[in-house]
């Protein structure tokens, strides 16, 4: 790549093991991970439970500190010895995080008050906070719930409120740590649409950690993790055209890919990198047609 722009997040040769009880050998949660996230991109991090994907998220949001290697936020080494609390705060103004459980990240008893929580912490003037809160709620489509109590909302709505809380802080990068895992299918769709819009329209860098394949294909880039290492890294087409590798680490591939893979194995000439059901149907129809014509 010829671009010389500083990546918003960069991870260099990072290793980490959770502290264990005495006597137990620590097992590395992350081993020699290198990863660079370009500003404005939409990256999915895929992995099975225990693959290290959530640990990686905690590294990038500076909740955990690496044992060796470093985390760079916007060109600043956050793992250096001389990092102060101010620096961490400063990095957190650039990179925000939305967690898995929507209930455990909402602080206030009114939706708009919760969205205001972050900007209030930044010490902004109240008129500016008001403007940002309204704007953020508008962006996630929750304006009409501004005065509601969070506990009366659905999971998807709560998660959108949590996202608004991060948007209102004007973060350049948002990490979604399995933010769709606890939601029902409708809630997942709501949140995914919101995430996608933030990236496409607001140009916010998105890091989406998930184990849902159909969510991962919506990204520009997919990083597959297994036992603390990066296994695959590429566009969704590149990654999902290797179903065997993914199956080996107990990951699924999108249903369309799986179907096309089996078609291909049975001798049909089909592409594997199709994730849209309609396109997939057309591809199969075309393959069958050309197969019949050949007979």
């Amino acid at each position: 790549m010829s671009e010389t722009k500083t990546p918003i997040i960069e991870i260099r040769d990072l290793s980490f093991a959770y502290p264990t009880d005495d006597g137990e050998a620590p097992k590395n949660a992350l081993t020699n991970v290198n990863l660079s996230i370009e500003e404005g991109s939409f990256v999915s991090i895929l992995g099975h439970n225990g693959s290290g994907k959530s640990t990686l998220a905690k590294m990038m949001s500076l909740i955990l500190m690496p044992d060796s290697g470093s985390v760079w936020i916007d060109g600043k080494n956050m793992s250096a010895e001389d990092i102060t609390e101010e620096d961490v705060l400063d990095a957190r103004r650039k990179v925000g995080m939305v967690f898995q459980n929507p209930d455990n990240q909402i602080v206030a008893t009114v939706v708009e008050e919760d969205v205001a929580f972050g900007p209030e912490n930044l010490g902004l003037p109240s008129a500016e906070i008001r403007r940002r809160v309204d704007e953020a709620l508008e962006m996630v489509g929750m304006t009409k719930y501004a005065r509601h109590a969070p506990h009366n909302l659905s999971g998807g709505q709560k998660q959108r409120v949590a996202i608004a809380g991060i948007i209102a802080m004007r973060r350049r990068c948002i990490i979604f740590d399995e933010s769709t895992a606890m939601l029902d299918p409708a809630g997942r769709r709501e949140v995914m649409d919101t995430i996608e819009r933030l990236n496409r329209e607001e140009n916010i860098t998105v890091l989406h950690i998930t184990h849902y394949m159909n969510e991962a294909v919506r990204a520009d880039r997919v990083v597959v993790m297994d036992s603390g290492r990066i296994l695959l890294d590429g566009t969704p087409s590149e990654v999902f055209s290797q179903p065997e590798t993914l199956w080996n680490v107990r990951l699924d591939v999108p249903q369309t890919t799986e179907l096309l893979y089996h078609m291909k194995k049975s001798g049909y000439n089909v592409r594997l990198d199709i994730f849209d059901p309609d396109e997939c149907a057309e591809e199969i129809a075309a393959a069958i047609r050309s197969d019949r014509d050949a007979d």
């Binding site: 957190r92 455990n104 008050e113 972050g118 912490n121 010490g123 109240s126 506990h151």
Partner: protein
């Protein structure tokens, strides 16, 4: 188990009371409590009842909701008044049976105490909980107590704790119900057996509830940190409280009410023992 807590819940509305500065509502509540305890005779109680009715009217809270809130407290009200019936000695004895003596004064006293409690609950719940969102209430408290920061009292931390507690009450209630259902599905029995057996049956509910509360607390703390929370220092607020002249007038009205009640007390008639 019925976990309905209608008493003390915010009731959506747009009355003058709803829009009033929460700080003024807290001050008005304190004044009202003082005024209630100033009332000593039937005349002053009549004025108290009138003021409570006026409060209900301007708050536009449906009487049905207020009555529902009171129902939960029937026992406390009845208990305190019945004790008074037997306790107070007076001049006009009505019933004398063994060691039980009931006097007219006792009955009047019990009636006024019941009224006092009811007016106190209606007044404060209208002023504070029904018309004020919990967050406005904690904001108001934080700002009223702000001068205490000079004494290094953790005023901001206190109000943040209040806010989080209020935020998580419904969540934890929901969770309790979920755990109870899960235990019931495994054959747990919460409604029969002796008191001790029932108390023991609660242990399998409390243990998972506490565990999850601690987990939630940790996650919330992390989430708050990621949102740049560093305590009250340097924090601004979206909604700044403004007390208008109307709010001051409202508080003044309670002072006047107190003065009127002191005057009415002097009119005589039957007076409360305390």
């Amino acid at each position: 188990m019925n976990l309905n807590i209608s008493f003390g819940q915010y009731c959506e509305g747009n009355s003058i009371l709803h829009r009033m500065d929460p700080r003024m509502k807290i001050i008005a509540s304190i004044l009202f409590i003082v005024v209630i305890f100033l009332a000593k005779n039937l005349f002053s109680f009549a004025l108290l009842i009138l003021s409570a009715v006026v409060l209900i009217a301007i708050s536009a809270i449906p009487v049905r909701i207020i009555a529902r809130g009171m129902k939960a407290l029937t026992f406390i009200i009845l208990f305190t008044s019945i004790i008074n019936i037997f306790w107070i000695k007076g001049e006009t004895e009505l019933v004398s049976f063994g060691f039980i003596h009931i006097y007219l004064e006792g009955i009047l006293n019990a009636l006024m105490i019941a009224l006092r409690i009811i007016i106190l609950l209606v007044g404060t719940s209208i002023l504070m909980t029904y018309t004020t969102t919990p967050i406005a209430l904690t904001d108001g408290l934080e700002q009223l107590l702000a001068p205490l920061k000079v004494l290094h009292l953790p005023v901001h931390e206190f109000s943040m704790m209040m806010t989080i507690a209020l935020r998580f009450i419904p969540t934890l209630i929901e969770e309790t119900q979920k755990i109870m259902n899960a235990q019931k599905a495994r054959g747990a029995d919460f409604s029969t057996g002796s008191l001790i057996q029932r108390a023991k049956a609660l242990v399998p509910i409390l243990v998972p509830l506490f565990l999850s509360a601690f987990r939630r607390a940790e996650e919330l703390a992390t989430a708050m940190e990621c949102r740049c929370y560093t305590g009250g220092e340097g924090r601004t607020r979206m909604n700044i409280l403004h007390a208008t002249s109307k709010d001051y007038l409202f508080c003044a009205a309670f002072v006047l009410l107190g003065a009127a009640i002191i005057l009415l007390n002097r009119l005589g008639g039957y007076a409360l023992a305390w």
